[in-house]
Subunit: 312 residues, 4 copies
């Protein structure tokens, strides 16, 4: 936002590396401070990190001592920990991100409570004229099947009409915001003799599409939990793209933990007692349709199970 803050970041990018004896990940060092663009004006970037794959192993070996000796290598141990939900060793790694994101995305994100946050305050400072407008291919109708999601994409003309409307209202509310602030800047002259309404009050006129930014610091276990929820197909598109961008950074940071997460969380699925009964019927040579017919799964659950089994 403010130029001086951007400059401060350039300063970090320009700085010479210094020696450290802490665990260091070369592939993440290369990405440090670099902006990864997300949506039309947003970004994520890694500001700092603590630990690496070996730090997970180090913590696990303190906890489980002799018990870990049978694990011949680090990768195997990390996979074992992930599979058996031994979560505390993953808490020994920490990531700090600088994120720029629309307010409605921030409102979903902040629900994850186990993290440290410093957000740009519109009580102290003035928000820029930057707001989110979805690309045409993401303007869609309300889903019928999924009460919280989107269905079919609008045709080009309709999508453009939606975008125009969103843009118009965002600009209107910002114009009023600037009028209320009456704070000269960006070519806006001060209206002498007129009030400068308090920033904490003027900002209530902005829409949820406006961008805010924050520092967000979280341990790897809680980060992976966040990603498992927000990379999910049911997550709103606009937060999912942030989760995916962060996922790529995590893959560069702790590749073994990421691989285990992909295999044992993202790519996996939970089966209820009733679903397990059906699967056990398959092992015994049963037929899926027959087994589903004989189960007491609800119609919705049968559909979900078919989907999990790749049989829909």
């Amino acid at each position: 936002m403010d130029d001086d803050r951007l400059q401060q970041l350039q300063h970090l990018l320009d700085a010479e590396p210094v020696p450290t004896r802490r665990p260091t990940v070369a592939t993440l060092e290369d990405k440090l401070f670099h902006i990864v663009p997300v949506l039309d004006h947003g970004f994520v970037r890694v500001v700092d990190y603590m630990g690496d794959d070996a730090a997970i192993v180090q913590a696990a070996r303190v906890s489980y001592g002799r018990g870990t000796k049978s694990m011949r290598n680090d990768r195997g141990l990390i996979r074992y920990l992930m599979r058996h939900r031994h979560t505390t060793p993953f808490e020994m790694c920490e990531l700090k991100l600088h994120v720029k994101l629309p307010i409605f995305v921030a409102r979903q994100w902040i629900r994850h409570r186990t993290a440290n946050v410093n957000e740009y305050s519109a009580r102290y400072s003035i928000l820029d004229r930057e707001f989110y407008v979805p690309e045409p291919e993401h303007v869609a109708v309300q889903s019928e099947s999924n009460r919280q999601g989107r269905g079919e994409v609008l045709d080009a003309a309709q999508a453009q009409a939606v975008r125009d409307l969103l843009r118009r209202d965002a600009l209107t509310t910002y114009e009023s915001y600037e009028h209320l602030l009456n704070d000269a800047g960006d070519g806006v002259p001060l209206r002498e003799g007129e009030p400068q309404v308090a920033r904490e009050l003027a900002r209530v006129n902005l829409t949820l599409a406006y961008y805010t930014q924050w520092y967000w610091k979280v341990d790897l276990h809680n980060l992976l939990h966040f990603l498992s929820l927000r990379m999910d197909a049911h997550a709103q598109y606009e937060i999912r793209v942030y989760a995916e961008a962060i996922g790529a950074l995590v893959a560069a940071w702790v590749p073994q933990a990421w691989e285990a997460f992909a295999d044992y969380r993202l790519g996996g699925a939970f089966f209820s007692k009733q679903e397990l009964d059906v699967v056990r019927g398959l092992v015994a040579g049963g037929d899926l349709d027959t087994l589903l017919g004989g189960s007491d799964l609800s119609g919705r659950e049968k559909t979900e199970l078919r989907h999990k089994l790749g049989a829909d």
Copy 2:
């Protein structure tokens, strides 16, 4: 919002009391489910509670055992616990509130992480045409001395102009919201053949002045911490009035804890090492001006200390 949800609450108000052996507070029972209006459309109301003053004492006596025998009565013990920041016994009480509040207030509120929250989701449901417009006496200019706060109130005509602008933009964005939703209701006809844009997308067009609502459940220790920050003069007016409304409910619920909180938190002040030196100088018969002059407090700190000492 939806009529059926209001009806559901009436149902609770109408229900006959039932017997319980749990700690029960008659003065809070009378307030249960009743709306306490806050701001122009908001409210707080107690939906449930666990514990009372005696529950704090009960927990403290388990922890401190014999050590608490010298405390002759419950009130004395609660005051002792508050004074010495023995916080865990206060965690043994829990309050559940139903709150309706503007989104910009919700954004501040949610920063308190140690609480349970279920918020109305505008991905699933449609927000009502209810938004916050400050009363004229709360429309003020940016403070000069306090970077985050408000200064003088605007004159009547200026205040009305601000209110008109806020109202106009809120209505404009809601009109677009309804247009995007294209969801018949409240006399708005369905536009046949036109898209019903996904709710999760349409809602980004609303301003931060719109009301949301949530269930918020928190233990007494964390609630008092929340209140100490949000009842403070530096808190934004619009959240302070919620804190004050909740404070009145807490006073009805756990009067002894509330009295101790008022004496040992709200009405008290922290003195730094350097400030203590000044105060100790006073004990030794020194004069405030002279002592301040001789201290290495910054100018700002001297002002703050005078204020704490009631000498400004």
Copy 3:
């Protein structure tokens, strides 16, 4: 421990019920304050509770609004929430327990951080001569297959020898404890002229088998998470019996949530990406042995998968 504390509890049991308009669960009221014995000297008992099955539904309907209308009844909605890991509505219920437990169990238990705790303090008070000695049928050798668990039970004579040894050392350390305290009581005379060593120091001589007690307050979501870990076959027997005793109380408190938990958590299982591939092979008519042979699951994982499929 102290008589006055036991008396205090009798007082609660004897008290007449009072009317409340809060959600009340008759089946749990009957169990309120009653001790459920666990191990040789331990117990759990419900001291207070907030909410019921309907409170979960109430919170979910605020969050998901219209989205919940298709759920015809409360049971169906609770099952949906559990299945899809919508965890926040379960946080709206709270349980407060009084627990007496050996210190080594308390050390495992306290690792669950999202709870409120008030523990008996041996800095302030004196611990009773109560320690845990396992029943003969729970004295077992170190497991070979499970690095953290138990294998075969010892024969009767060996088990008795172990028990004798544990009892002997517990009594020896308590005798020293009393000697150090030099605090007359229970027939122990004061040794005039000799020091009364500080309680916070004397207690370090006791073994981990000694009983402590605490008030433990937790929301239903975090309680169920605790139970899913501690009712697991891999949990140490001595904490598992506490989890099972609490589980029975939860079943009396929120029967619909408990049923959903049993079906969708306790009785279910997670399948990794690689395991899912095998299961999908079954759907396609494949044979388990052949599919396992062709997979890149490790030997240990194949064993685990066979176990999950009931094919071991």
Copy 4:
């Protein structure tokens, strides 16, 4: 404990520094991995860290933006944040420690919930024959005035008798522990044909004086809160020395934050409403004795206030 784990640490000490672009603190790099002895067998050592004084400032400037411009320098801003309890910027720094500590100290320490922990598990591994015995100058009687603390130190002969008793019982319980484990090592021969009792069971025979170890990771805000409680004169000596050792490491890591903490927390004091009234009376030229006489402070509070004012 195990040699291989110590070796692993030597490996870190021997490793060549590598370049990083993360914030790096030269004075802490020098201390990295080095053991700081505490008590007779314990230690703390820094295993990793994230951030520095500048990282606190960086986060604050994002939050408060323009509001921080009037703060001419980083030190002033950090002092401002500490004074006004703007705690979130301090959460942006993280410290990871390796700690070896007696179990009774670990039991107090773990009560601080906002931290990540990986503890050595005596279910998986065997604890060493290492236990705490206080130095003679820390063997003291129960305090009369402070129900949780120590009074006068014992004379030399009495202290030695206490130490002998503690040592004797610790050795006795360890001998039984080894007997139960029946796990050859350290010159202890295997008793062929006899059972090897499960480690999770055998360990219950050890006293609270035995050493455990863990990795403990915490953000700076929560660390300072921990230190303010555990460096306090009321904290048990055996945890206070850990807090002091950590404090010295924090001072090397974030010297500006540490200075502000010393001035605004450690060296300061909170005054209640009633105490403030007395202090305001001093400003008005009143006399302490007279003011105390006229106040409604309890006798205990008067003593505490005199102490805070250095007038006892």
